[in-house]
Each structure stands twice: as C-alpha cells, then as structure tokens.
Symmetry: C2
Subunit: 489 residues, 2 copies
C-alpha cells in the first residue's frame, strides 16, 4: 500500500509536469501576444504546485517504510528518483529559489537590451547577480565530493562529475582544431541556393519526419522562432523554423527535433520518473544522431536529392554528391547555432570552460567578454567583431542555465558511440537510409535507448548499448573519416 | 497576513483552473489523435490538485481568523467564494466524486453508441446510473431548504432556486407556443444559399469579431467541431465551425462565442474568484445578446449585407431586408442547437422539466423517451421521428451535466432585460450597429456586467444593470415585436 501511494504520487506529479510542457508549447506557438504575463503567472502556479509535491515530507516517510530489496529494479529506480526530486526540491531555500527565478527573468530582459545595444556592459550586472545566485544554489546542491559546478551539472546530466566531464570534453579540442586547420586550406564546396516556399518546405519536413518513423498521430509539426520538441509519449510535438532562401534550417532543425521526439514517443513507462529520459546528454545524442549521422550522410543525400530537386525548380545543386558536400560545408563562424560538425564542439568547449570558471570563482563576470574573445581567437583563428556575435549570443546564462552547455557535447560524443555500434550491427544501414527504409535504425535506438528510461546512468546506458565505455574516440574517428574524404585531407 | 495567505491561495487555484482551460482548448483544437487518453490522465491529475486546494482545511482556518466586517465588499466576496468552493469540494465524498466521473465518462461512450444505433435502450442503463449518482450528489449539496435539484442547479447558477426558476421559465411556454402557431400560418422568407469557401468565411468571422470589439491580441479564432470559448482575460480564445453551404453556422457561432469572450476579456479582477463571471446564465446572456439582439437585428443585416454579397459571388439574397428575414426564419425543427429564437426556449423547457423530474424521482429513466416524445409533440406540434432527433440529441445528460439546461433560458431572459435597458440608454444603438461603431454597446456591457465579477447574485446584477427585476416580460415583448413585424402577425 505504501508503495502504491508513492507510485500514485509520482505519477500525478509526472502528469502535472507534462501539462507544464503543453503550456510551454502553447506559449511558443499559438498563444496570443497579450497572454504572456498571464501565462507566466500560470506557469509559476503550476511550478509551485509541482515543487510542493516533490518536497512533500510524506514522500520520504513512504520511502522509509519500504524495503528496497523487495522491489524490482524499475520500482527501485522510481524510489531513487523520488528521493532525488525531494532532495533537489528541499535543499534550495524558498527565498533563494524565488530570487533565482526573478534574476533569471530580469537577466533575460537585460540580455535582450544588451544585444540591442551590442554592449556587454549592459548585461554584466545582471549576469553577476545570476552567477552569485547560481553559486549559492550550487552550494546547496553539491554533495561535497566535487566542486560547486557539480551541483549544477547534475541537474541536467544526473550523476555526472566535472572531474570526468572536463577532461573528456577537452580531449576534443586538439583534434577539432587540427581538423579545422587542415580543412581551411581546401577549396569550399558549392553552396546551396534556390527559393524554397514555406508550404513546400513544411511538406518536405513532414515527409522527412514520417520517413524517420515519427508518428504524426502522436505528435504535430508547427513553426516557431526557436525550434523545440515537447510533450510525452502519445503527444510528442515538434516545431521547426523556415528560411525561404535556405532549406537547410528547416530540414536539419526538423531532423534534430524529430530525433528528440522519437526518444519521447519511444518511452516504455512514460508516466513515472524511472521511465523518463536518461539525461539531457542522452536526449541530445538522439537529436544529433538523426541530424548528423543520418541527415548529413551521403546515403541520406541520395534519398533526399530527388525530393528536393523535383520540388524546387531553381534548386542549384546537381546530384547527391553536391548536396552532401553543401550540407557538410565546414566554415569558421561566430555563431554556435549555425556551426558545422567540426566547429560545434569548439563552441561548447569555450562556454563550458568559461561557466565552470565563473562558478568556481576563478573568472569574474567583468572579465568575461575579454576572456571570451581571446579564447575564441585561440580556438577559431578569428576574433568576434562585436558582443552580439561573441559573448552575448546565447540566452542560456541570462536565464540562469549554467551547467547545461556540456550536455550538448556529451550528446555529440554519445551519438558517435551509438553510431559506431549500430553500424557494426546493421551493416546495411547506408542502404536503409538511401531507400528511406529506416525502421531497423529506429528499432535499434528504441531497444537500446528509448525504452530504457533512467534505469542506468548515461555512461552505463551507453556502455550497455555499445559494448564500450563512452569516449571521444568514436566522434573523432567519425569526423576524421567523413571530412577526410570530403575535403581530400 | 492571514488574509494575504488566503488571497494568494485563491489566486493560485484560479491560475490552475485557467491552465485546465488551456489544456481543454488544446484537446479540442490541436491535440494529436493518440494524445486523448494521456490528456484524460493529465486533466484528472490537475483536477485532483485543484480539488485538494479547494478542500484544504487550512482555508477554513484562515477564514475563521478573519473579521469579515473589516473587509471590502470585494474581499468579503472572495472569502465567501472560498467558503463556497470548500463546501462544494468537501460535501461530496471522494468515492462518490470518483464514481460520478467514471459514470460520466462511460455514459458518453454509451451515448455515442446509442446514437449510432439510434436506440435509446442502449443508453438508458448508463443514464439510470448517472441519474442515481447525481441524486446522491444533489443530496450532499442541497441545504435542505429546496429539493434535490437545487443542489445541482446551484453549481451553474449560484444561489438560484428551483422554486423561482421553474415558474419563471414556464411562464415562457404559452407565449412561445402562441407565437410559433401564428407564425406557422405565414409564408416562409426566402432561404439563404450560395457557396462559402472556408478561408473567406474565416476572414469574415474575424472582421465580425473585431467589429464587436474582440481583441485578437488577447485571443484567437480556430475551428472545432463544437464551437466554444475558453481562457482568461488576456488570453480568451474562441472557436467556430464552418459549413461551406451555409454561412450562418460560422457567422452566428462566431458572434455567440465572441459574446462569451468579451465577458472574459472584460473581467476587472481576473485572478480571483470574486472577479470571475457571475453565473452560467449571465455568461449565456452575453453570448445570446451578441448573437441575437445584435447579430439577428435589421441594423446588423444592413452592416453585414455588403460584406457578404461582395465576398461571395453566388450569394442569392438581394438586400439587407432579405438577409434579415432569412436569418430570422422561424421553422419548427427537432434539434435544439439549430433552433430559432422562438423555438429555442421551448427546447430548453422540455429538457429542464424532464431532468427536474428525473432528479426529484417523479420520472424514471425507463419512461424518458416516451415522455420526451409526448411533450415534444404537445409543444412543437410534431413528433420526433427517432431517438437521434429526440431524446438522444444532447450530450449533457450522458456527461452528468444535470442542472445546466435552465441556464440557457436564463441567459435569454437576461439578455432581453439588458437589451431593453440598453436601448433606453443608447437611443442611437441601431445606427451604431448599422455603421459597425459598436464601442458604446461594449462599454455599456463592460461597466454593467463584465467588470462586476461575482459581487452580486445574477438577479441582483440584472436588477442593478437594468433598473428592474429579471422577468420574462422583456423577452416576450422583444420576440412579439420582432417577429410580429417580420411575419406581419
């Protein structure tokens, strides 16, 4: 009976969290303009309700009455998740949580203003306050074994340790810088051009999503400024963005978000925390796998080329080879969200190291812009011309999202591990992609990742799925092989 | 401090109720097909959360510590509303509430099946169970002064008494039957015809809504099977339905729902129960006022005619007079939702009296169909040819909505009272409608109804707004005058 009460409590909380997701979807896609402040209040009320449930002392009483040894691994995981939610919810004093929420909201306003003025100094005071509050929060959350940053990282990548993540991510830098430098000496491929009307792009996006195995009866595709995926198993929605001059934005953001949504649609136990997604890094591995390992592969270009060339009369590329080269054009730029596979993780590394130093106190917000620019030039060979293209480009820090950036690179590392293992087990994978018969690929991910919930840590899950410990070696091999051939290195 | 705690509690509950509305909107408009059962679970979790808040004993402790005499009327009303919510939430045992919810859900399934088979007997057992549970519920809710039905009626029309509502509504019957009989002897007006493509209808609907004063920046218009309005002040959405062969469905359902939404957008204190709408009857008075007293007026036909005739090439009517006559065509039919102004309240009267008798025990569900048919023929002069066009036509009873029907007629009665008073104060009203300059009409409703919240009972609100006690006299006068002239009686 105690166990049933606990499970019922957890289930109801999960359902309320799903409602918050639907409200967020609504806000980003269909909400009328004047609804914003009302929505903020509604979301606050729902968040407070969820917090009350997660911090309910009754939960810990129920747990103390249970004999964990008698439970199945799945049920034990639910108990652990309940304990984890309780600790997260109770360790941070209410006054600090409220101050953080307020600072995050004000920080975003200041960030928008600073971007408008193209002046980091306008944003710096708000960031200083955000960082100070995040340090306080981190002190509440850390278990004393790691540094402050561990307390933040754990919210996005459960159980991850800075002491492990930092060397892992940093081992990418020399390989990526070397690859970038060698590619830069080579001629650039022909760029994609043409005019791509919105309705046709949306229709193509639907075809791509369906071919990947996305179930439109359990989801929908809409347009938003920043693409995102949200929802739960039988209602997992995605959005995309459209640029009528360049089909790549719609195409790859659709594949990215469908990657996330396939993970969501594939949950085996969607109503309980043990059935939730494993970590942000794992989630990102799914989006990046479909976006890059599939979407930017030669076989996919072979499948895609006839669809694009028949639909868009002035599409300029001739044949799958040119399409493959164009969508893999490696070009040094300032903006993370537009970066190619070679540069992307260099962008993340920069942000990860900077936020780590802000939190451990070795970098002051006053020095952030200067440090950003110096390090950017070191890694990319060019210096940002202004703050908008430099330190002010991402919303994350303004919103108090610190500890989140490394999960992007973890996702890329995990996706390369999964890619390598899958190729060994599905030797015909290229042919599957070429013909659009990708069901075995999705099945593989379903059984190894999507259906596994939180029963394993991210590292354990990757190890079990691939037969090897997660490392950067598969990602570096993948990039060297792919771009070595493409650029004749 | 105690008062602040109470107000904060009420405000949070109101915000959660609004989230439930948005979820419902989502369900009816954009939710993917497979999301239905998940959504039902989510709504259940949210409803349980709201119930827990409303039945929290802490609320009654706070109230007991307050000195009500020191509070403003608005604050005192919030306290009364909190007490009311608490009583509603605690008087019904949890087991009964759960049984009712289950029976309502199963009842709807049986109703759909019965309609498919066109056989009342398929639905009768489910209705019997629903009625039995509603009687139990009514026994919990009634204060002992009135009969069982009072306990149900009060949920929709706070403070209303069957002993007052019954004679009020029944006083309509002889006047309506007489009017119907006199009209039936007269020739019918020319019917509206043409082809009305969906996008053009939607555009016209937007123009109509804007002209009425609906703020699209605080709302939106979508299509759904059954039109409805939902939301709160700065996010008050409406839906409409489209029949490409008849523009009247879209036109009048838009005006009806905009009437509801204007009430919502005009709330002065939208986050607290004292600022909520007064009653279902009052809400319906707003929708019916705009749909009928404005939308089916000659001046509106004058404004509308050029818009329709210029947009739809094969629209058959010639001039505002023909349009006015067509949208006011009085024709005896079986279906409530398609009824004209003369027949509509006869449909309601039939349902109201039947459900009252089901609840007070003087009618058995076994005899319902027969009784329906006999009484229908008595009032309408024709007998329903089958169950679908008779006793099975409305969803309400299957869903446990008993006590709701009379609010439709109360809405019509109130709207006629408001109409008469407004005409006396705005002698130029016809000219305003004719030119589409309807702002003074909305302002009048804003100050007399929309901004008043729940500070007064429905009767008090109408009395204060119109200077007279609510009665059926204005409605009967309005119908006699309008249809007397139209049909040359």
């Amino acid at each position: 009976m105690t166990f049933d009460h606990l499970i019922d409590h957890l289930r109801q909380t999960s359902l309320l969290l799903q409602i918050a997701e639907t409200s967020h979807w609504d806000q980003e896609t269909v909400m009328p303009e004047k609804g914003a402040s009302l929505r903020a209040e509604q979301m606050g009320a729902l968040a407070a309700t969820i917090h009350t449930r997660q911090s309910d002392p009754q939960v810990m009483e129920w747990i103390s009455e249970l004999n964990l040894e008698e439970l199945s691994p799945f049920d034990r995981c639910n108990v652990e998740q309940a304990r984890r939610q309780y600790e997260k919810a109770t360790r941070i004093p209410k006054s600090l949580a409220e101050a953080s929420a307020k600072a995050a909201s004000e920080g975003q306003v200041q960030w928008v203003e600073a971007r408008k003025q193209n002046d980091y100094a306008v944003f710096a005071p708000a960031l200083k306050r955000n960082v100070a509050l995040k340090r306080e929060e981190a002190a509440c959350l850390t278990d004393g074994e790691g540094g402050l940053y561990d307390g933040l990282l754990d919210s996005y990548e459960p159980g991850a340790r800075t002491a492990e993540v930092k060397p892992l991510l940093e081992s990418l830098r020399p390989a990526l810088v070397s690859l970038r430098e060698r590619i830069q000496e080579k001629p650039a491929p022909r760029s994609l051009s043409g005019s791509f009307p919105e309705p046709d792009q949306l229709e193509l996006a639907r075809t791509v999503a369906e071919t990947m195995g996305y179930d439109f009866k359990a989801g929908r595709l809409d347009i938003s400024v920043h693409p995102f995926s949200s929802g739960a198993v039988s209602d997992a929605r995605i959005t995309t963005r459209i640029d009528e001059a360049d089909i790549q934005f719609c195409l790859f953001s659709t594949m990215h978000e469908v990657g996330h949504a396939l993970y969501t649609q594939g949950a085996a136990h969607p109503y309980l925390p043990a059935g939730d997604y494993c970590s942000m890094g794992l989630h990102e591995s799914q989006s990046r796998f479909w976006e890059n390992q599939i979407g930017r592969s030669h076989s996919f270009a072979e499948w895609l080329y006839p669809l694009v060339s028949s639909r868009f009369a002035d599409f300029n590329l001739r044949g799958p080879d040119e399409l493959y080269a164009a969508v893999n054009h490696v070009q040094t730029g300032f903006v993370r969200t537009e970066a190619d596979e070679v540069h992307y993780n260099l962008h993340i590394l920069l942000r990860f190291e900077l936020e780590l130093e802000l939190i451990d106190g070795s970098l002051e917000t006053e020095d952030l812009e200067e440090t950003w620019n110096v390090r950017f030039e070191r890694d990319f060979g060019i210096a940002p011309p202004d703050a908008r293209l430099g330190v002010l480009q991402d919303v994350h820090w303004s919103a108090g999202l610190i500890g989140y950036f490394p999960t992007y690179s973890l996702g890329n590392i995990y996706s390369a591990c999964l890619d390598e293992a899958m190729r060994a087990e599905l030797p015909d994978r290229d042919a599957m992609v070429r013909t659009g018969e990708t069901a075995p690929i999705l099945d593989w991910l379903r059984s190894r990742v999507h259906s596994r919930g939180r029963l394993l840590s991210p590292q354990e899950l990757i190890a079990e799925a691939t037969g090897m410990q997660p490392s950067t070696r598969p990602l570096i091999d993948y990039l060297e092989t792919k771009f070595g051939a493409l650029y004749d290195l």
